[in-house]
Symmetry: C3
Subunit: 361 residues, 3 copies
Amino acid sequence: MPLRDVSWEEFSGLSLDGKARALNSKGRLFHVLYAQQFGRKELDDLGALATQIRFLAKSDDGARFLLGLLPHRRAMLYFTQPSTRTFLSFCAACEVLGMSLGEVRDTSTSSEFKGESQEDSVRTFSSYFDLIVMRSKIGGLAERMAWTLSNSERPVPIINAGSGRDQHPTQALLDIYTLQRSFERRGGIDGKRIVFVGDLARGRTVRSLSCLLANYRGVRMVFVAPDQLQIGRDILEQLEARGVSYELSADFAAAIPDADAIYMTRIQDEWDKEQGESARIDTSSYCFTEADLARLGKEAVLMHPMPRRNEMAAGVDRDPRAVYWRQMRNGMWIRSALIAVQFGIAEVIRNRASETGVKVP
Amino acid sequence: MPLRDVSWEEFSGLSLDGKARALNSKGRLFHVLYAQQFGRKELDDLGALATQIRFLAKSDDGARFLLGLLPHRRAMLYFTQPSTRTFLSFCAACEVLGMSLGEVRDTSTSSEFKGESQEDSVRTFSSYFDLIVMRSKIGGLAERMAWTLSNSERPVPIINAGSGRDQHPTQALLDIYTLQRSFERRGGIDGKRIVFVGDLARGRTVRSLSCLLANYRGVRMVFVAPDQLQIGRDILEQLEARGVSYELSADFAAAIPDADAIYMTRIQDEWDKEQGESARIDTSSYCFTEADLARLGKEAVLMHPMPRRNEMAAGVDRDPRAVYWRQMRNGMWIRSALIAVQFGIAEVIRNRASETGVKVP
Amino acid sequence: MPLRDVSWEEFSGLSLDGKARALNSKGRLFHVLYAQQFGRKELDDLGALATQIRFLAKSDDGARFLLGLLPHRRAMLYFTQPSTRTFLSFCAACEVLGMSLGEVRDTSTSSEFKGESQEDSVRTFSSYFDLIVMRSKIGGLAERMAWTLSNSERPVPIINAGSGRDQHPTQALLDIYTLQRSFERRGGIDGKRIVFVGDLARGRTVRSLSCLLANYRGVRMVFVAPDQLQIGRDILEQLEARGVSYELSADFAAAIPDADAIYMTRIQDEWDKEQGESARIDTSSYCFTEADLARLGKEAVLMHPMPRRNEMAAGVDRDPRAVYWRQMRNGMWIRSALIAVQFGIAEVIRNRASETGVKVP
């Protein structure tokens, strides 16, 4: 555990890239806190592993093989910021590998935690569990807890399942995996044109995903939003620093025909600073409707992190280019793959998959 | 999936019998929504299977065999109408077969679901689970979701665990199973006299059960209640249409001696339209007390769907004719049997049971 | 089940020792309600078994062996008094042995339980589960339920996980196990000096633990607290009756150097009769700080039932004499051992442990 060698002051003072390097310094994935921990190789390997797990799970035999891998390991899902979707996805991801689950979803229901420090609560979980998946409104909490555990007698890995407004690395991983699968027969993600639409200022998924996409060659990102909801300067600067080309636009209709992937997002009005702030912005032209299907490329895909409102018409669901339901299920597979890597069982899975003839591109 | 071939407008416009036929049209039980889906043969088979599961579970070996059947399947218990009893019974029923469980019990706790359509929520569940057991105050919700899933890329079966005021098919199944067991050595349910007592106007269990009893020959149903709580005309018309004989009465004491089974129910005052409506009705003579035991037939049985209040005296519990605790446990077995049929493992269970000498009447 | 032979009136009229004898009268641990049920032999055996389970769980093979013991048994955790820590510990303890879990944590969320008697609720649980672990604010509830179940058709064992203000037997067991481990190479608990510090008047852990310590030879207990929070006369009378020597003190600093174990407790202000009652007591000298480490014996240990506030400085955690995190994890092992005894699988575990070379002192 690299975190063991640095003080909290040192670690928390590092840049995001520095922190990512510190976490990966021993060459083994332990805590998963930032999208920045994943380079091209990690993404390729993880996607391949997710596909192997997915294929194994299709047969009774394969599913039982997977169940037999981690039955003696327990995961704590510590979700103080509510999220049924991400919660269920992690539950399924753990159960695919046979893990047992515990959950704490609202600390207010527990009188015991009153007056206890967050560090003590998380060390309590680490006493009974082998993995802690945590989601919190508090930015940086996951990293503080990771440091705490790495410096305790019983370090267990932490996965950040959404922390504050910035980081949601496993969402970005499932998005990458969906793009990998979508472009499997078209040369992969390299060189593709990805169009992001909607509330790009406040959604953490687009922020994390655009950072991971910078690992691919020749990707072109198009950010389509009304001015008030356009993507932050900080992200654009990161892309510029890595030499990634991008476009900003307010014209969604014009962006549809050339897109390889369109990534729709909903207006995140729960972050409004004053009541009705979002409602005053005209977002009516940032919706994808059945009529737009005619102008969408034949091999393009439509993505959405869900939940959706009216920005993605339900009538589009039956079109084979709408992959957002598959995208959701991909979250389960990529999270299983991630956990498999953390627990050092990726090799066993790869061997079994190759024995049973699962082919990975 | 038969539902795939009809539009929602067509399906929802059918009569209850028409819907039941549509659901069973491929000869295989998939979604379980209505008591009307079960004819005599289905009830006999299901009861026999429940008994086989029950006997297998008695031995360590048999219990482990059952656990090995569906460890790679996950059930979502989606209970937005609270019910600990039915919930726990389904948990146990799934776990007997080795399934993993997830639950969503109150959508209000999940911020993610805000603004999301019910269809999207249920499709989300279907992304991570292989069976959805749902209970809701909204009549018809289960059938709309069943249609939605059958028309999606990932159809998974739905079991209705109580929907609106009318349908609670698995409660009716467990009641039938309890009657089957109770009359096992007396020629079965055919020709028996079943006395229903209490709030027959508002309890959905009696409505569903009386419909299933119409599958048996020569059954006589006696509905005993004060006028205001007497069984609905719609049920009586259904019985008449199927040639089932029945009696209405307000005199419980007179009905006891000839009963083969007495089915007590509590006053459902949670459905009162105005405060104290039920309290103004004199229900004191619709209670079964220890004194009544002397007038009850030697081989008769006392049933109750639970929970009870004062209409069934606790002092009666030790009498062997009081079968309501066994009735509760029967709910677990019959639900396991139902799930086994849905997942196509009934045959495997039957074979194992016959190998190990389990005899079913 | 001994409880079957006595009426509730008879049983509830017995002294605590009388009740403990009645519960153990058949020589087999079934319901676990009081610390008084455990004598020296039971404590030695249970500690040895916990150690065997702990060592087996360290290896993949051993962990899988344990998981295979009770996969066909289900435990209900019925916690109407909130406690995340004890709850998670029992979850883990059950899962180590492969059991499935169900939980009811707040009866207010269930409309079905409205108007139902506690007896009926618990009998409902016993219909679907094989073990009931219950925690309640109501003193004596666990024993009433144990009697009820022992007198039903389906008796299942109850474990008291905290009942009212007095009894929390499994906490006392984990404390004893921590002392056993701590003094393993120093001749065991006999003859040791145990210093209790803090709110001794209101914490149930010290009450239960001091009672169990009376089973050991030559143990000296020192109760250190401000007058208002000093241990109750009833406990002291019990110790006197058993010939156990003790001291009362208000001077913590003086008690540190000679202690073999220091058991810190927090001020239980949730039991204050009037607001601010505890805050008016000066408890500043009943805290253990990093500075105190220098005066602590080299082989002494620091214990705390957790959660802690300022009475145990977090800076002490890294000192090897601070065993309170291990103490927490011991709770899991000793509870697994207890359940193993209840289900009659202790012998199987002992055999496996001795085959694989686990040595128990």
